[in-house]
C-alpha cells in the first residue's frame, strides 16, 4: 500500500467513511458542494437576523423560529461541511451523532424543565427575605 493510497478513489479496505471527507468527485463538484453549503448557511443566517426586524412572524413565535433556524443551519453545516450523510457508509458517525443529540436534549431540556418547576414552586426571593427579618 503506497503512502498516498488512503486518499485515492477505490483504495478503501472497508466501505466505512470518516466524517469530514467528501465523496470521490471532481474538484469543481467538490467546490460547488462547499459553495452550496456556504450559500444555504448564509441564507439561514440572514433569515435569523431578519426574523428580529420583520412583522411577518407572530411576535411570540420569534424565539421558536430562531430555534428552528438554528437547528436547520446546524443540519446544513453537518451535511455540507462535515459530510455527515445518510448513506450506509456513514452509519457509525450517524449513530454517534444520534447519541450525542440525545444527551444534549436530555441536559438542556431536562435542566430547564426541572429548574423552571423549582422556580415555580418556591417562594419568590423578596418574600423569602422578608420572612427572614
Amino acid at each position: 500500500m503506497s503512502e498516498h493510497s488512503d486518499f485515492e478513489a477505490g483504495s478503501y479496505v472497508g466501505a466505512d467513511r470518516a466524517p469530514g471527507r467528501p465523496d470521490e468527485r471532481t474538484l469543481a463538484q467538490e467546490v460547488r458542494g462547499y459553495l452550496l453549503g456556504l450559500g444555504l448557511a448564509a441564507l439561514l443566517t440572514i433569515a435569523s437576523f431578519w426574523s428580529l426586524q420583520t412583522r411577518e412572524i407572530y411576535a411570540s413565535g420569534i424565539a421558536m423560529a430562531l430555534l428552528v433556524l438554528a437547528v436547520a443551519q446546524i443540519g446544513i453545516h453537518l451535511v455540507f461541511f462535515l459530510h455527515i450523510t445518510t448513506d450506509p457508509d456513514n452509519e457509525n458517525n450517524i449513530l454517534a451523532l444520534a447519541f450525542g443529540v440525545l444527551i444534549v436534549c436530555l441536559i438542556v431540556f431536562g435542566s430547564l424543565w426541572v429548574m423552571l418547576h423549582l422556580n415555580h414552586n418556591l417562594m419568590p426571593m423578596d418574600k423569602l427575605m422578608q420572612m427572614q427579618r
Binding site: G14, G20, Y34
Partner: protein, 224 residues
Amino acid sequence: MSTPTLRLAHEPALAPAGIAPGQVSGHGAGGPAPKRIIVGYGFWIFLLSDVIMFSAFFAAYAVLFKSTAGGPTAHELFDLRNTAAETACLLLSTFTCGMASLAVGHRSLKWTQLALLLTGLLGFAFIVLEIREFASFVARGAGPGRSAFLSSFFTLVGCHGIHVSVALLWLGTMMAQFYAKGFRQDIRHRFLCFSLFWHALDIIWVAIFNLVYLVGVLPPELLP
C-alpha cells in the same frame, strides 16, 4: 511505505468467499477499517463529547437568563452588528477551511497554505471582535461577577472563544507541519482532525448567535 497499522498482525487478510481481495465492500467484511477512518471516527466522538460539555453551559445559561440581580439585561447589552460581523467571520472561515481540505486532497501546498492563512485571519478577526465586546461589557460594569446571568454568559461564550483561540494555535502548527513535512499521511490525519474541529466550532457558534444573542435581544415580554 507500507502501513502495518491497517491490519492487526494476528488477523489474516481474509476476504469473504466470492469477493476478490481488495474489492470487498459492506459492513465488517473488509477487515479493520483504514487508519484514516478510525482517526476521524475517534475525533468525531471527542467532538460530540465537547458538544455535550457546551450543552451543559447552554442549559446553565438558559436557567440563569433572567437572574440579572438588578444588573444589565441581555436586551440592554448585546450589540447585534458586532454579532453579525463575528458570524460572517466564522462562516467564511469554515468555508475556507473546507477549501483547505480540498487543497490537501489534491496535494497543492500553495492553495493549502493560502486557504489555511485565510482561515486563520478570519478566526483571528473573530477573536478580536469578541475580546472587544467583552472589554466593552466589563467597562460598562457588566463583567462576569455582576450577576448570575452574566457569569453564565461569559462562561458559555468565553469557552467557545477559548476553543477558537486554541484552534488558531493548532492551525499555525498545521501550516508549519505542511511546510516542513509535506503531505505525509500522519500530517494529513492531523489536518483531518483540525478541519473537523474548526467546522464543529462554527456549529457551536450557530447555536450561540441564534439562541444567546438573537433570542437575548428580544423584548422580555416575547420570551417564553
